[in-house]
Amino acid sequence: MQYYDTGKYHVFFVLVLIAFLMFNILRARGGKSLFIRRIAGLTAIDEAVGRSTEMGRPVLMVPGLSGLGPVGIQAVRIFAYITKTAVKFSTPIRICLAEAALYSVAQEIIKDVYQAEGVPEKYDPTSVRFVSDRQFAFAAGVAGLIYRERVAAAFLMGDWFAESLILAESANAVGAIQVAASTVTTQTPFLIAACDYVLIGDEFYAASAYLSREPVLVGSLVGQDWAKIAIVALVIGLTAVSSVDRRVSPQLCLVDENGKHGQALKLRTIDGALVSEEKEEFTDPRYPDQQFVKTVYRPVEIRPLEDNRVKIAFTEQGKVVEKDGVFRNRNESETWSKTLFKPRTPDPLFPPREKVQEDTSDSTNGGTNS
């Protein structure tokens, strides 16, 4: 479907990004040592764990509401590293989770850490606990735990939503050191306001690579940088192109009349000259006694070709003229480029298929029951 939704080149672009990632992962696996710059927030981990060791209070780790997915697992990977440090000083840990599936993964990973450190007997299964899968019940439970056990360090990393500030402030109230990271950009400011160290945005994904120095992770981190650079290059390149060609070559663009929907489309070249225009008198049912005049710009046909090119037929002094041009979303008020991705008009390249007889379509297709 992507071919019609976004055009071939977009799929290609994503494939390029994936290629960058895979290439670097393989490169790192192949023993190539790659550089990662220092990440400020992460140096605080040992400090925080050390402090809670002195105070003999537990270290709290919460992945927010993250479920069993990239973010949640990433968070647990970071926690695994922290746990490793905590095990060295035999500091008690608490990991509170909001999803059952992630809970099982976390339990496995943390258990493995204790195994790897050679103290499997020290592992307390209740230190990794499922609190609730209901956002605020979760918040209430963890906040209560923070107050009761007076945690000395709190690591809040993952998918944070509204509950972020509840935990951050509660932890602050019991005087815990806090290191936070949120993949939900809307929550980052609160973590910044309430926590001691905050990993901003992408640093969260960089963390586990930075801490564990595992070739795969480091490689993929470098790959991510390549991908970002690719995106930047794309933006710069296309900006240049659009700036230039928009300046020189007149292009077609469709304008939605005073922002309303389902109205006649206006067709004009980019230098402002109208391509096709009719004056039309109309009455508004709301004001039966009045006559209004509006200019209607009505292309006869709009047929999308591939990668955002469309062929447009319209009347010019009575006769039909065809033009095709590239459409790019030039200003935010325009929304047509989205509709152009998926053709509304039946595409001549695709003649209708023959129909099957009715109601033989069900069963014979294991459990699909659509």
């Binding site: 799929v11 994503v14 973010v71 605020f136 602050n172």
Partner: protein, 302 residues
């Protein structure tokens, strides 16, 4: 259902003995298969998990890469191989989604068991918080009983309306536990954030460093622009200014409006900064998904 002759079918009408028979057969078969897994030699374990993960992810990746015919509908016959495959991909979609939900749902028990384990130990070891653990367990049991019971009374045509007219004890109980308590507790916990935001802002918003100063200033502007009364007063001043300078309202003076300033900050600075951050995260997420799908992420599938 015109295909009832013959023993084997994927589907049978509701309540047919064949259905029951096949359900039992299916159960036995799958249990047998699972039992077989218990005796898998060590070196084959990882491959099994990895394959499972890969195949599961492969469906969507295929859906992404495989060209899909336009306006797919079940009542049409595919033309050629490419369309046949794409038709099947489309056709499988509801099944896959259902499968995902059910499988994920079956894991909830893991979480609940962890919760119960903790609180039952507290209860039986007469831990000082045993009373609260008791509260937790009791309210949980109550909610399950009344929740399911209430739901079962609402089955069948018109049941909802009957209950609306003359609810039974169970409906009251569920309403009290759910609407009276649970919903309210949610709301309270959500609203409590206001207090925390207040203290956090008071503590953090100091003109200490460049960063905090910027944070503070922008936050103030946005807050002011949310207070309609303030905006009104401000804009009046701007209008007067515009009149006195005789410039048209669309002109340069217009940029002094509070909402305009806020809009400018949002359009020109906030959007790109947050977007860049989001795109960074997006790439990170893509990488992570890729690693997970191909099971090269440590600790999860190996």
């Amino acid at each position: 259902m015109n295909e009832q002759q013959g023993f084997f079918h994927f589907s049978f009408p509701n309540g047919s003995p064949y259905l029951l028979a096949w359900i039992i057969i299916g159960l036995i078969l799958s249990c047998g298969f699972v039992a077989g897994l218990f005796f898998v030699p060590k070196h084959l374990r990882r491959p099994i998990v990895v394959t499972g993960t890969f195949v599961a992810g492969f469906y969507f990746v295929l859906k992404w890469l495989w060209p899909t015919a336009q306006n797919y509908s079940e009542t049409e016959v595919p033309r050629g191989f490419v369309e046949r495959v794409s038709f099947n991909i489309e056709y499988l979609l509801p099944f896959v989604s259902n499968f995902t939900q059910v499988l994920a749902a079956l894991l909830l028990g893991l979480g609940i068991s962890s919760l119960l384990r903790i609180h039952f130990t507290q209860l039986f070891k007469k831990h000082r918080d045993w009373f609260f653990s008791l509260t937790l367990i009791l309210s949980m049991i109550a909610m399950v009983i009344f929740g399911i019971w209430d739901w079962s009374t609402r089955m069948g045509p018109g049941a909802d309306d009957k209950i609306a007219e003359a609810p039974g004890f169970v409906n009251f109980a569920k309403d009290l536990l759910f609407d009276g308590l649970l919903i309210n507790l949610d709301a309270v916990m959500f609203s409590i954030i206001a207090f925390f935001i207040f203290s956090a802002a008071y503590r953090a918003f100091r003109i200490r460093s460049m960063e905090s100063t910027i944070l503070l200033t922008v936050a103030l502007i946005v807050m002011l622009s949310l207070m309609g009364a303030i905006v009104g007063l401000w804009d009046d001043q701007v209008n007067n200014l515009a009149k006195s300078t005789g410039s048209d309202p669309g002109g340069i003076v217009d940029n002094l409006r509070l909402t305009t300033i806020k809009a400018w900050i949002q359009d020109t600075l906030q959007i790109p900064s947050i977007r860049a951050m989001d795109l960074g995260l997006a790439v990170g997420g893509l990488a992570m998904s890729l690693r997970l799908w191909l099971s090269i992420e440590k600790g999860v599938s190996n």
